[in-house]
Every structure is written in C-alpha cells, then in structure tokens.
C-alpha cells in the first residue's frame, strides 16, 4: 500500500516538475503563469491589459492570414452557387424591383415628414462619419458571438459604436484596440437591446441566443406579436438610433418562443460600416 502511494506521488511529481528534452519550462511553472494571468486579468491589472492588447493585435492579424485558404474556398463556393442560381434570382429581383420602385416614392415623402416632425419634438439625431471596416475574423466561438474588424482607435473607433451591414443593424463595438476592434453581434447571449415590433407598436427587448437567431423577451403584449412582423431599434436608453431595421419574426408551431430572424447573415459578413448617432445641435 505504502509503495503504491509512493509511486503515485513520484509519478505526479515527475509529471509536474520534469522537463523533457525540448521543454524549457516545467508544467508547474506554466500552470502558475496561467493562474496569474487569469487572476490579474479578472482584476483588470494594467500590465495584463497591455499584454492582452498586444496578443490581440498579433492574433487577429494571424487569424486572418491562417483563415485565408479556408475563406478562399468558401468565397469560391458561394460564387459558383450564386452563378447557378442566377436566372432564378434575376426573375425574383425583377418583380421585387417593381414593387420597391412604387414603395420608394412613398418612403421619400415619409422620411421628409419624419425629419420635420422629429425636429419639432427636438429628437433629431444625425449620423457621424461612417467608417468602413473589413471583417478579419468571425470565429464561431461557443462563448462569444463576435467579429473582429480591421479598424481601431487609430481610425476613430470608440466603444459602443453602432455596426451595420448595409442598412441593417449587426451589433456594437465592445473592445477597441489600436488597429482592430471586436464587435459583439446581436446573436450573442449577452446582447440585449430595446426594440419596437411593427405593426402594433410593441416595445420589447431583443436578446441573442448564441445561435443564428434572436428571441423577443419581456413584452407585456407578448401574445399580440404576429408572424412576419418587422423588428426595429426603439431608441430607448439612447443605445441606438430609433428605426434601424434588425430582422423579422418567425414563428415555430412546435415552440412558444418568439424567434427573430436577422436581416443580415452574420456568418457572411465581409465588410461592415461603423457609425455613431449624435443629437443634432445645429438647429
């Protein structure tokens, strides 16, 4: 019994402390380093933050290079797929274009009227300069739904700026480095934004699910939400400008959950625009 316990201790000690032929550090010292990183990182220790920013810059660029071949294959696959569907898409586009032309005229009038009314109630916001950024990495982490973009504080990016794909909301910046930033997507579990559901003007909170879709939470008029309703930002809390389109409601017969399908496909983002909305003080 004594001998087997001794053997166990010897094996464990050797595992922790013995350095192999190619090893410069023992496992114990590296484990010690990791724990120090973890503790100091959670305490927001300055040195660790600088190390983190340095690693971020290296990793984001390297990740973009390493993912090059894979992105090349995916892009080509999409190009071929698009070519095969070209005729069908063209027919669909033609009919949609006719509809949109008619709606556009009406929209223009509504936009002008809306501007005028918002000016009256002192709620008119204007867009800051839009920065276009390339998506460096969109690793589908199970812990964090985010993308890395190639613009940072050097280019005028700030924390909490609005990130959009064309006219659709994608998320906001949550980490800004010198040359790169991380954008928290709307699909992330921790993303919760105030929205309005039209028609019926239902105010609610849109929450990410960690998957491709989002869900509607905390609404008093939960039953009034209809299938295919459109979700816009409500502008509450001054987080986002009101009226940015986000997605549409998709009902599932098998579940009670009110799912939201985002207009933008977060897995296909290549370029995004970053902007912030500020109140118009020029009046």
């Amino acid at each position: 019994m004594e001998t087997s316990r001794d053997d166990f201790i010897i094996a464990i000690r050797s595992a922790f402390l013995k350095k192999g032929t190619q090893q410069r550090f023992s496992l114990l010292s590296l484990i010690f380093f990791s724990i120090i990183f973890l503790i100091l990182g959670s305490l927001n220790f300055k040195v660790i933050n600088y190390v983190k920013i340095g690693i971020n810059e290296i990793v984001y660029r390297s990740s973009f290079i390493v993912s090059g071949p894979e992105n090349f294959i995916i892009d080509n696959y999409l190009v071929v797929k698009n070519h095969l569907n070209l005729y069908k898409i063209n027919e669909k586009n033609k009919s949609e274009l006719e509809n949109l032309k008619a709606k556009d005229l009406l929209n223009e009038y509504i936009i002008l009227e809306n501007k005028r009314l918002k000016n009256i109630i002192d709620d008119y916001v204007i867009k800051s300069d839009t920065i276009i950024a390339k998506v460096l990495s969109d690793k589908g982490s199970p812990f964090l739904k985010s993308i890395i973009i190639n613009k940072g504080s050097k280019h005028g990016i700030d924390l909490g700026m609005v990130v959009m794909d064309k006219e659709y909301l994608v998320g906001n910046t949550v980490e800004v480095n010198y040359l790169s930033s991380r954008v928290l997507l709307l699909s992330d579990l921790n993303s919760k934004i105030p929205v309005i559901i039209e028609p019926n003007e239902i105010f609610s909170i849109l929450s990410g699910t960690g998957k491709k879709n989002g869900v509607i939470q905390y609404s008093k008029k939960y039953e009034d939400i209809k299938d295919d309703s459109i979700i816009y930002t409500s502008g509450s809390g001054n987080l986002f400008k009101a009226g940015i389109p986000i997605g549409r409601m998709v009902f599932n017969l098998l579940s009670e959950e009110k799912k939201v399908e985002f207009f933008s496909d977060f897995s296909q983002l290549r370029f995004v625009s970053i902007t912030s909305f500020i109140k118009d003080e020029t009046k």
Partner: protein
C-alpha cells in the same frame, strides 16, 4: 549536398507538423469545437495535445501549448489564461499516464483521456459559469465531450500512422 538540405527541410516541417496543426486549429475561423451543427462538435486541440504529450512529448513544447492557449482565449473571447490552464492540465494528465504506463494500450489511454476531459470541462464550466458569468449550454458540453472522446481513437491512429510512416520514413532515409 542539395538533396541533404532538402531532406532536412522536409524533416523539419514534418516534425513541426503537430505544432503547426495546433496553431492552425487555434487561429482558424473554422472551428471543430463549434461547427454550428446541433449534435456534433469536438475539441481537436484537446486530442492533439493529449496524444502528442503522451506519445511524443518532444514534439509539442509546453511553452508553445501555453502560448496556443493564450491565442485561443483571445480568438474565443474567454478570460485570458483559461485555455492555457486547461491545455496544461491535459499535459499533466498525459505526463502522469506516461510515467505510470509500462505497456501502452489505446483503450486505456482513451478512458484516461475521457476522465481528463470530463475533469477539464467541469473546471471550464465552473470557471466560466460561476466566476466569469458566461452562459454555457450544458447539453453542448456533453455532446462535445462525447465526440472528443470517440474521435480520440480515430485521430490517435491517424497521428500514429503519420508519425510512423511519414516522419519515420524520412528519418530512416
């Protein structure tokens, strides 16, 4: 002379292959750990680190594993140092198994690997859920552990084949 140089370069590349694979798996966008499929995901890095720490500890330096862990944390957005810690615990388990093993057996290695990843994932779950307030899906973790365990046998044979027939044949020449 040129032939010898060329052979040396190939030998260098082949012997560094585990390290290259580890860094690619950590930095690449396409992650086996999160394929977007509901009932399939596995942790390739765990398999690679455990196998090479157990069978050929000289191929993967601990310091590289530590750095790969830091990179993994940055890419995944988890607290920095956490993946390094998990990777190194995996190395400790592999080193312990190597020390107590007289006659290597794939089944026993596999079972020991299962126990280790169960421990590591429990630790990860506790750390992320209770200390750092990340939300984790318990069911996904179970799926991930199961497939990581099952695929260990497949990758173990593949790595064995790679080491014996490709790296071995170059070294023998």
């Amino acid at each position: 002379m040129i032939d010898l140089k060329k052979k040396n370069i190939i030998r260098q590349i082949l012997s560094s292959m585990p390290l290259i694979l580890l860094f690619i798996s950590v930095l690449n966008n396409y992650d086996f750990n999160y394929l977007g499929l509901k009932y399939f995901s596995f942790n390739f890095s765990y398999i690679l680190i455990f196998f090479y720490s157990l069978k050929r500890s000289e191929s993967l330096g601990y310091i590289y594993i530590f750095i790969a862990g830091l990179f993994n944390d940055v890419v995944l957005g988890t607290p920095i140092g956490l993946s390094s810690l998990m990777f190194l615990i995996l190395c400790v388990a592999a080193a312990y198994l190597r020390n107590i093993t007289l006659r290597p057996n794939l089944i026993k290695d596999g079972i020991f690997f299962l126990v280790t990843i169960l421990f590591i994932n429990s630790l990860l779950f506790v750390a992320l859920n209770f200390i750092f307030n990340y939300e984790l899906d318990y069911f996904n973790q179970i799926i991930n552990i199961t497939f990581t365990f099952l695929l260990y046998f497949l990758f173990s044979n593949l790595f064995d084949y790679f080491e014996n027939y490709l790296v071995g044949s170059i070294n023998a020449r």
